[in-house]
Symmetry: C2
Subunit: 206 residues, 2 copies
Protein backbone atom coordinates (compact mmCIF):
# COMPACT_ATOMS: atom_id res chain seq x y z
CA UNK A 1 0.00 0.00 0.00
CA UNK A 2 3.05 2.27 0.16
CA UNK A 3 3.64 2.16 -3.58
CA UNK A 4 1.24 4.98 -4.29
CA UNK A 5 2.90 7.20 -1.70
CA UNK A 6 6.29 6.48 -3.19
CA UNK A 7 4.89 7.51 -6.56
CA UNK A 8 3.23 10.60 -5.13
CA UNK A 9 6.50 11.59 -3.47
CA UNK A 10 8.20 11.59 -6.86
CA UNK A 11 5.37 13.29 -8.71
CA UNK A 12 5.17 16.09 -6.16
CA UNK A 13 8.46 17.37 -7.58
CA UNK A 14 6.90 17.82 -10.99
CA UNK A 15 4.99 16.04 -13.78
CA UNK A 16 6.45 12.81 -15.15
CA UNK A 17 5.36 10.12 -17.57
CA UNK A 18 4.98 6.53 -16.43
CA UNK A 19 8.22 5.65 -18.14
CA UNK A 20 10.21 8.52 -16.62
CA UNK A 21 8.67 7.76 -13.26
CA UNK A 22 9.72 4.17 -13.51
CA UNK A 23 13.31 5.18 -14.36
CA UNK A 24 13.52 7.73 -11.56
CA UNK A 25 11.91 5.20 -9.27
CA UNK A 26 14.65 2.65 -9.64
CA UNK A 27 17.28 5.34 -9.07
CA UNK A 28 15.79 6.93 -5.97
CA UNK A 29 12.85 5.73 -3.96
CA UNK A 30 13.29 2.26 -5.43
CA UNK A 31 16.23 1.89 -3.06
CA UNK A 32 13.75 1.63 -0.21
CA UNK A 33 10.64 0.42 -2.02
CA UNK A 34 11.07 -1.84 -5.02
CA UNK A 35 8.41 -1.97 -7.71
CA UNK A 36 8.53 -3.40 -11.24
CA UNK A 37 7.05 -1.45 -14.18
CA UNK A 38 4.25 -3.97 -14.44
CA UNK A 39 3.07 -2.70 -11.09
CA UNK A 40 3.71 1.00 -11.65
CA UNK A 41 1.61 1.51 -14.78
CA UNK A 42 -1.60 -0.06 -13.38
CA UNK A 43 -1.12 1.75 -10.07
CA UNK A 44 -0.91 5.08 -11.90
CA UNK A 45 -4.17 4.28 -13.68
CA UNK A 46 -5.79 3.42 -10.37
CA UNK A 47 -4.52 6.61 -8.77
CA UNK A 48 -5.88 8.58 -11.70
CA UNK A 49 -9.27 6.91 -11.29
CA UNK A 50 -9.18 7.99 -7.64
CA UNK A 51 -8.29 11.55 -8.72
CA UNK A 52 -5.00 11.60 -6.82
CA UNK A 53 -3.16 12.33 -10.05
CA UNK A 54 -4.14 13.51 -13.50
CA UNK A 55 -2.67 12.30 -16.77
CA UNK A 56 -2.33 14.21 -20.02
CA UNK A 57 -1.66 12.56 -23.36
CA UNK A 58 1.28 14.20 -25.07
CA UNK A 59 2.29 13.61 -28.68
CA UNK A 60 5.60 11.90 -29.24
CA UNK A 61 6.95 11.88 -32.81
CA UNK A 62 4.33 11.37 -35.55
CA UNK A 63 1.99 8.78 -34.15
CA UNK A 64 3.07 7.82 -30.65
CA UNK A 65 1.92 9.44 -27.42
CA UNK A 66 2.92 9.36 -23.80
CA UNK A 67 0.91 10.05 -20.71
CA UNK A 68 2.32 12.68 -18.33
CA UNK A 69 0.97 12.70 -14.79
CA UNK A 70 0.81 15.45 -12.22
CA UNK A 71 -0.43 15.44 -8.63
CA UNK A 72 -3.87 16.91 -7.90
CA UNK A 73 -4.72 18.79 -4.72
CA UNK A 74 -6.44 15.64 -3.46
CA UNK A 75 -3.26 13.69 -4.17
CA UNK A 76 -1.19 16.20 -2.29
CA UNK A 77 -3.53 16.01 0.68
CA UNK A 78 -3.47 12.21 0.55
CA UNK A 79 0.32 12.23 0.67
CA UNK A 80 0.46 14.62 3.61
CA UNK A 81 -2.25 12.64 5.42
CA UNK A 82 -0.18 9.49 4.96
CA UNK A 83 2.87 11.28 6.36
CA UNK A 84 0.91 12.07 9.50
CA UNK A 85 -0.86 8.75 9.96
CA UNK A 86 0.74 6.01 12.07
CA UNK A 87 2.81 3.73 9.87
CA UNK A 88 1.61 0.18 9.50
CA UNK A 89 4.40 -2.24 10.23
CA UNK A 90 4.42 -5.54 8.42
CA UNK A 91 4.71 -8.62 10.59
CA UNK A 92 8.17 -10.13 10.86
CA UNK A 93 8.90 -12.45 7.99
CA UNK A 94 12.61 -12.96 7.75
CA UNK A 95 13.77 -15.98 5.75
CA UNK A 96 17.44 -15.52 6.66
CA UNK A 97 16.86 -15.62 10.39
CA UNK A 98 14.40 -18.46 9.93
CA UNK A 99 17.09 -20.50 8.28
CA UNK A 100 19.73 -19.41 10.76
CA UNK A 101 17.64 -20.84 13.59
CA UNK A 102 17.98 -24.35 12.14
CA UNK A 103 21.54 -24.38 10.82
CA UNK A 104 22.36 -27.35 13.05
CA UNK A 105 20.22 -29.42 10.67
CA UNK A 106 22.64 -29.01 7.78
CA UNK A 107 26.35 -29.45 7.13
CA UNK A 108 28.89 -26.84 8.21
CA UNK A 109 29.70 -26.38 4.52
CA UNK A 110 26.09 -25.54 3.66
CA UNK A 111 25.80 -23.30 6.70
CA UNK A 112 28.91 -21.40 5.65
CA UNK A 113 27.64 -21.09 2.10
CA UNK A 114 24.39 -19.60 3.38
CA UNK A 115 26.20 -17.05 5.53
CA UNK A 116 28.59 -16.10 2.75
CA UNK A 117 25.68 -15.47 0.42
CA UNK A 118 24.04 -13.42 3.12
CA UNK A 119 27.14 -11.27 3.38
CA UNK A 120 27.34 -10.89 -0.40
CA UNK A 121 23.67 -9.94 -0.58
CA UNK A 122 23.99 -7.21 2.02
CA UNK A 123 27.27 -5.96 0.61
CA UNK A 124 25.51 -5.34 -2.68
CA UNK A 125 22.82 -3.35 -0.88
CA UNK A 126 25.44 -1.58 1.19
CA UNK A 127 27.35 -0.49 -1.90
CA UNK A 128 24.17 0.90 -3.44
CA UNK A 129 23.22 2.82 -0.35
CA UNK A 130 26.71 4.16 0.24
CA UNK A 131 26.77 5.30 -3.38
CA UNK A 132 23.52 7.09 -2.79
CA UNK A 133 24.96 8.76 0.32
CA UNK A 134 27.82 10.03 -1.81
CA UNK A 135 25.44 11.40 -4.42
CA UNK A 136 23.49 13.11 -1.65
CA UNK A 137 26.65 14.65 -0.21
CA UNK A 138 27.74 16.05 -3.57
CA UNK A 139 24.12 16.85 -4.52
CA UNK A 140 24.48 14.95 -7.76
CA UNK A 141 21.43 12.70 -7.69
CA UNK A 142 19.24 14.14 -10.50
CA UNK A 143 15.98 13.58 -8.62
CA UNK A 144 17.33 15.34 -5.54
CA UNK A 145 18.57 18.23 -7.68
CA UNK A 146 15.14 18.65 -9.25
CA UNK A 147 13.53 18.47 -5.83
CA UNK A 148 15.82 21.14 -4.41
CA UNK A 149 15.09 23.36 -7.42
CA UNK A 150 11.44 23.54 -6.42
CA UNK A 151 12.10 23.75 -2.66
CA UNK A 152 12.14 26.97 -0.65
CA UNK A 153 15.77 27.86 0.20
CA UNK A 154 15.20 27.55 3.95
CA UNK A 155 13.86 23.99 3.47
CA UNK A 156 16.73 22.71 1.35
CA UNK A 157 18.90 21.86 4.30
CA UNK A 158 16.14 19.79 5.89
CA UNK A 159 15.44 18.01 2.62
CA UNK A 160 19.07 16.97 2.28
CA UNK A 161 19.37 16.13 5.96
CA UNK A 162 16.45 13.68 5.90
CA UNK A 163 17.70 11.98 2.76
CA UNK A 164 21.09 11.51 4.40
CA UNK A 165 19.43 10.30 7.58
CA UNK A 166 17.42 7.73 5.63
CA UNK A 167 20.36 6.23 3.78
CA UNK A 168 22.51 6.24 6.90
CA UNK A 169 19.88 4.05 8.51
CA UNK A 170 19.95 1.66 5.58
CA UNK A 171 23.74 1.54 5.66
CA UNK A 172 23.67 0.77 9.37
CA UNK A 173 21.24 -2.03 8.78
CA UNK A 174 23.37 -3.57 6.07
CA UNK A 175 26.46 -3.41 8.28
CA UNK A 176 24.64 -5.17 11.10
CA UNK A 177 23.54 -7.97 8.80
CA UNK A 178 27.09 -8.39 7.52
CA UNK A 179 28.74 -8.44 10.91
CA UNK A 180 26.09 -10.84 12.20
CA UNK A 181 26.80 -13.27 9.39
CA UNK A 182 30.54 -12.92 9.98
CA UNK A 183 30.02 -13.86 13.62
CA UNK A 184 28.08 -16.85 12.34
CA UNK A 185 31.03 -17.98 10.26
CA UNK A 186 33.26 -17.72 13.29
CA UNK A 187 30.74 -19.70 15.33
CA UNK A 188 30.78 -22.53 12.81
CA UNK A 189 34.58 -22.63 12.98
CA UNK A 190 34.45 -22.85 16.76
CA UNK A 191 31.80 -25.55 16.81
CA UNK A 192 33.74 -27.57 14.30
CA UNK A 193 36.96 -27.20 16.31
CA UNK A 194 35.17 -28.19 19.52
CA UNK A 195 33.25 -31.09 18.03
CA UNK A 196 36.19 -32.60 16.17
CA UNK A 197 35.19 -34.66 13.15
CA UNK A 198 31.45 -34.07 12.64
CA UNK A 199 29.31 -36.96 11.45
CA UNK A 200 27.22 -36.51 8.31
CA UNK A 201 24.31 -34.45 9.59
CA UNK A 202 22.06 -35.21 6.63
CA UNK A 203 21.70 -38.72 8.05
CA UNK A 204 20.50 -37.49 11.43
CA UNK A 205 16.82 -36.69 11.73
CA UNK A 206 15.85 -33.66 13.85
Amino acid sequence: MSLRYALLALLRVGPLSGYELQKEFSLSVGHVWHAPDSQIYPELRKMEAEKLIEGEEQPRGQRATRRVYHVTDAGDRAFLAWMQAPLEYARVRDPAHLRAAYLEATSPAAAREFLRRHIAQWERELAQWEGELLRIAEVSNPMLVRRLAVTEPQDRERTIAFKRFTYEGLVDRARVEISWAQRGLKLIDELEAAGGVTPDPSAARV
Copy 2:
Protein backbone atom coordinates in the same frame (compact mmCIF):
# COMPACT_ATOMS: atom_id res chain seq x y z
CA MET B 1 7.15 -19.72 0.43
CA SER B 2 9.06 -20.14 3.67
CA LEU B 3 5.97 -20.95 5.70
CA ARG B 4 6.10 -24.62 4.87
CA TYR B 5 9.72 -24.86 5.95
CA ALA B 6 8.92 -23.14 9.21
CA LEU B 7 6.18 -25.73 9.75
CA LEU B 8 8.47 -28.60 8.74
CA ALA B 9 11.12 -27.34 11.16
CA LEU B 10 8.62 -27.64 14.02
CA LEU B 11 7.17 -30.95 12.92
CA ARG B 12 10.61 -32.52 12.61
CA VAL B 13 10.75 -32.51 16.41
CA GLY B 14 7.68 -34.69 16.64
CA PRO B 15 4.02 -35.01 15.60
CA LEU B 16 1.70 -32.10 16.35
CA SER B 17 -1.88 -31.18 15.55
CA GLY B 18 -2.66 -28.04 13.58
CA TYR B 19 -3.78 -26.34 16.74
CA GLU B 20 -0.69 -27.27 18.74
CA LEU B 21 1.49 -26.30 15.81
CA GLN B 22 -0.15 -22.93 15.63
CA LYS B 23 0.44 -22.36 19.36
CA GLU B 24 4.06 -23.46 19.21
CA PHE B 25 4.46 -21.40 16.10
CA SER B 26 3.60 -18.13 17.75
CA LEU B 27 5.98 -18.93 20.63
CA SER B 28 9.01 -19.97 18.60
CA VAL B 29 9.46 -19.71 14.87
CA GLY B 30 6.69 -17.10 14.74
CA HIS B 31 9.26 -14.69 16.13
CA VAL B 32 10.97 -14.71 12.77
CA TRP B 33 8.13 -15.75 10.48
CA HIS B 34 4.64 -14.65 11.32
CA ALA B 35 1.65 -16.66 10.11
CA PRO B 36 -2.01 -16.56 11.19
CA ASP B 37 -3.97 -19.80 11.80
CA SER B 38 -6.02 -19.12 8.70
CA GLN B 39 -2.84 -19.65 6.72
CA ILE B 40 -1.46 -22.57 8.72
CA TYR B 41 -4.39 -24.98 8.37
CA PRO B 42 -4.67 -24.75 4.58
CA GLU B 43 -0.89 -24.95 4.20
CA LEU B 44 -0.86 -28.18 6.23
CA ARG B 45 -3.52 -29.63 3.93
CA LYS B 46 -1.48 -28.62 0.89
CA MET B 47 1.66 -30.13 2.36
CA GLU B 48 -0.23 -33.32 3.06
CA ALA B 49 -1.47 -33.41 -0.55
CA GLU B 50 2.18 -33.10 -1.62
CA LYS B 51 3.14 -35.94 0.75
CA LEU B 52 5.55 -33.83 2.79
CA ILE B 53 3.58 -34.61 5.92
CA GLU B 54 0.96 -37.14 6.90
CA GLY B 55 -2.05 -36.52 9.09
CA GLU B 56 -3.83 -38.96 11.36
CA GLU B 57 -7.33 -38.38 12.75
CA GLN B 58 -7.34 -38.87 16.47
CA PRO B 59 -10.47 -39.08 18.61
CA ARG B 60 -10.99 -36.29 21.10
CA GLY B 61 -13.75 -36.79 23.67
CA GLN B 62 -16.91 -38.49 22.41
CA ARG B 63 -17.47 -37.02 18.98
CA ALA B 64 -14.67 -34.60 18.14
CA THR B 65 -11.41 -35.45 16.40
CA ARG B 66 -8.14 -33.73 15.77
CA ARG B 67 -5.61 -34.23 13.03
CA VAL B 68 -2.05 -34.96 14.10
CA TYR B 69 0.66 -34.48 11.52
CA HIS B 70 4.11 -35.99 11.19
CA VAL B 71 6.87 -35.43 8.66
CA THR B 72 7.38 -38.01 5.91
CA ASP B 73 10.76 -38.93 4.48
CA ALA B 74 9.95 -36.77 1.47
CA GLY B 75 9.18 -33.88 3.83
CA ASP B 76 12.46 -34.38 5.62
CA ARG B 77 14.33 -34.36 2.35
CA ALA B 78 12.46 -31.24 1.22
CA PHE B 79 13.48 -29.46 4.40
CA LEU B 80 17.14 -30.41 4.07
CA ALA B 81 17.10 -29.47 0.38
CA TRP B 82 15.73 -26.04 1.31
CA MET B 83 18.49 -25.66 3.90
CA GLN B 84 21.06 -26.22 1.19
CA ALA B 85 19.49 -24.15 -1.57
CA PRO B 86 20.39 -20.48 -1.97
CA LEU B 87 17.96 -18.33 -0.03
CA GLU B 88 15.69 -16.08 -2.05
CA TYR B 89 15.86 -12.55 -0.77
CA ALA B 90 12.79 -10.38 -1.05
CA ARG B 91 13.27 -7.01 -2.71
CA VAL B 92 13.63 -4.07 -0.34
CA ARG B 93 10.27 -2.73 0.70
CA ASP B 94 10.68 -0.66 3.81
CA PRO B 95 7.83 1.71 4.66
CA ALA B 96 9.69 3.34 7.56
CA HIS B 97 12.69 4.35 5.49
CA LEU B 98 10.40 5.41 2.67
CA ARG B 99 8.67 7.82 4.99
CA ALA B 100 11.92 8.94 6.57
CA ALA B 101 13.16 10.07 3.16
CA TYR B 102 10.37 12.64 2.92
CA LEU B 103 10.08 13.88 6.49
CA GLU B 104 10.79 17.44 5.31
CA ALA B 105 7.29 17.39 3.81
CA THR B 106 5.60 17.24 7.20
CA SER B 107 5.70 19.13 10.49
CA PRO B 108 8.46 18.51 13.06
CA ALA B 109 5.72 17.31 15.41
CA ALA B 110 4.52 14.66 12.96
CA ALA B 111 8.10 13.67 12.18
CA ARG B 112 8.83 13.21 15.87
CA GLU B 113 5.65 11.22 16.34
CA PHE B 114 6.66 8.89 13.53
CA LEU B 115 10.11 8.32 15.00
CA ARG B 116 8.75 7.77 18.50
CA ARG B 117 6.37 5.14 17.18
CA HIS B 118 9.25 3.55 15.31
CA ILE B 119 11.20 3.32 18.54
CA ALA B 120 8.21 1.88 20.40
CA GLN B 121 7.62 -0.67 17.66
CA TRP B 122 11.20 -1.94 17.73
CA GLU B 123 11.35 -1.88 21.50
CA ARG B 124 8.42 -4.29 21.57
CA GLU B 125 10.24 -6.58 19.17
CA LEU B 126 13.46 -6.16 21.11
CA ALA B 127 11.78 -7.16 24.37
CA GLN B 128 10.36 -10.28 22.75
CA TRP B 129 13.67 -11.32 21.27
CA GLU B 130 15.63 -10.59 24.44
CA GLY B 131 13.07 -12.65 26.35
CA GLU B 132 13.66 -15.46 23.92
CA LEU B 133 17.43 -15.17 24.39
CA LEU B 134 16.87 -15.56 28.11
CA ARG B 135 14.71 -18.65 27.62
CA ILE B 136 17.41 -20.08 25.36
CA ALA B 137 20.11 -19.40 27.95
CA GLU B 138 18.18 -21.12 30.72
CA VAL B 139 16.87 -23.78 28.29
CA SER B 140 13.29 -23.09 29.33
CA ASN B 141 11.57 -22.62 25.97
CA PRO B 142 9.34 -25.73 25.73
CA MET B 143 9.90 -26.20 22.01
CA LEU B 144 13.66 -26.03 22.46
CA VAL B 145 13.48 -28.51 25.33
CA ARG B 146 11.52 -30.96 23.19
CA ARG B 147 13.98 -30.47 20.35
CA LEU B 148 16.97 -31.15 22.58
CA ALA B 149 15.27 -34.27 23.91
CA VAL B 150 15.32 -35.81 20.43
CA THR B 151 18.78 -34.49 19.51
CA GLU B 152 21.99 -36.49 19.76
CA PRO B 153 24.01 -35.24 22.77
CA GLN B 154 26.91 -34.06 20.64
CA ASP B 155 24.53 -31.90 18.55
CA ARG B 156 22.83 -30.17 21.45
CA GLU B 157 25.46 -27.51 21.81
CA ARG B 158 25.20 -26.60 18.14
CA THR B 159 21.42 -26.49 18.33
CA ILE B 160 21.51 -24.05 21.21
CA ALA B 161 24.34 -22.05 19.68
CA PHE B 162 22.44 -21.42 16.43
CA LYS B 163 19.27 -20.42 18.24
CA ARG B 164 21.27 -17.94 20.29
CA PHE B 165 23.03 -16.69 17.17
CA THR B 166 19.68 -16.13 15.44
CA TYR B 167 18.10 -14.13 18.22
CA GLU B 168 21.27 -12.13 18.77
CA GLY B 169 21.00 -11.04 15.15
CA LEU B 170 17.40 -9.97 15.66
CA VAL B 171 18.32 -8.09 18.82
CA ASP B 172 21.11 -6.29 16.97
CA ARG B 173 18.72 -5.30 14.24
CA ALA B 174 16.18 -3.91 16.69
CA ARG B 175 18.88 -1.90 18.45
CA VAL B 176 20.03 -0.39 15.17
CA GLU B 177 16.50 0.67 14.29
CA ILE B 178 16.07 2.25 17.70
CA SER B 179 19.33 4.16 17.69
CA TRP B 180 18.67 5.31 14.12
CA ALA B 181 15.31 6.75 15.12
CA GLN B 182 16.86 8.39 18.16
CA ARG B 183 19.40 10.08 15.93
CA GLY B 184 16.45 11.24 13.84
CA LEU B 185 14.85 12.89 16.87
CA LYS B 186 18.10 14.68 17.58
CA LEU B 187 18.31 15.79 13.96
CA ILE B 188 14.84 17.33 14.13
CA ASP B 189 15.86 19.24 17.26
CA GLU B 190 18.94 20.56 15.53
CA LEU B 191 17.09 21.58 12.38
CA GLU B 192 14.47 23.35 14.43
CA ALA B 193 17.11 25.18 16.46
CA ALA B 194 18.96 26.19 13.30
CA GLY B 195 15.88 27.23 11.34
CA GLY B 196 14.30 29.24 14.13
CA VAL B 197 10.53 29.48 13.90
CA THR B 198 9.47 27.13 11.12
CA PRO B 199 6.57 28.15 8.88
CA ASP B 200 3.61 25.79 8.52
CA PRO B 201 4.96 23.15 6.15
CA SER B 202 1.52 21.82 5.21
CA ALA B 203 1.04 24.99 3.17
CA ALA B 204 4.22 24.45 1.15
CA ARG B 205 3.94 22.17 -1.86
CA VAL B 206 6.93 19.96 -2.64
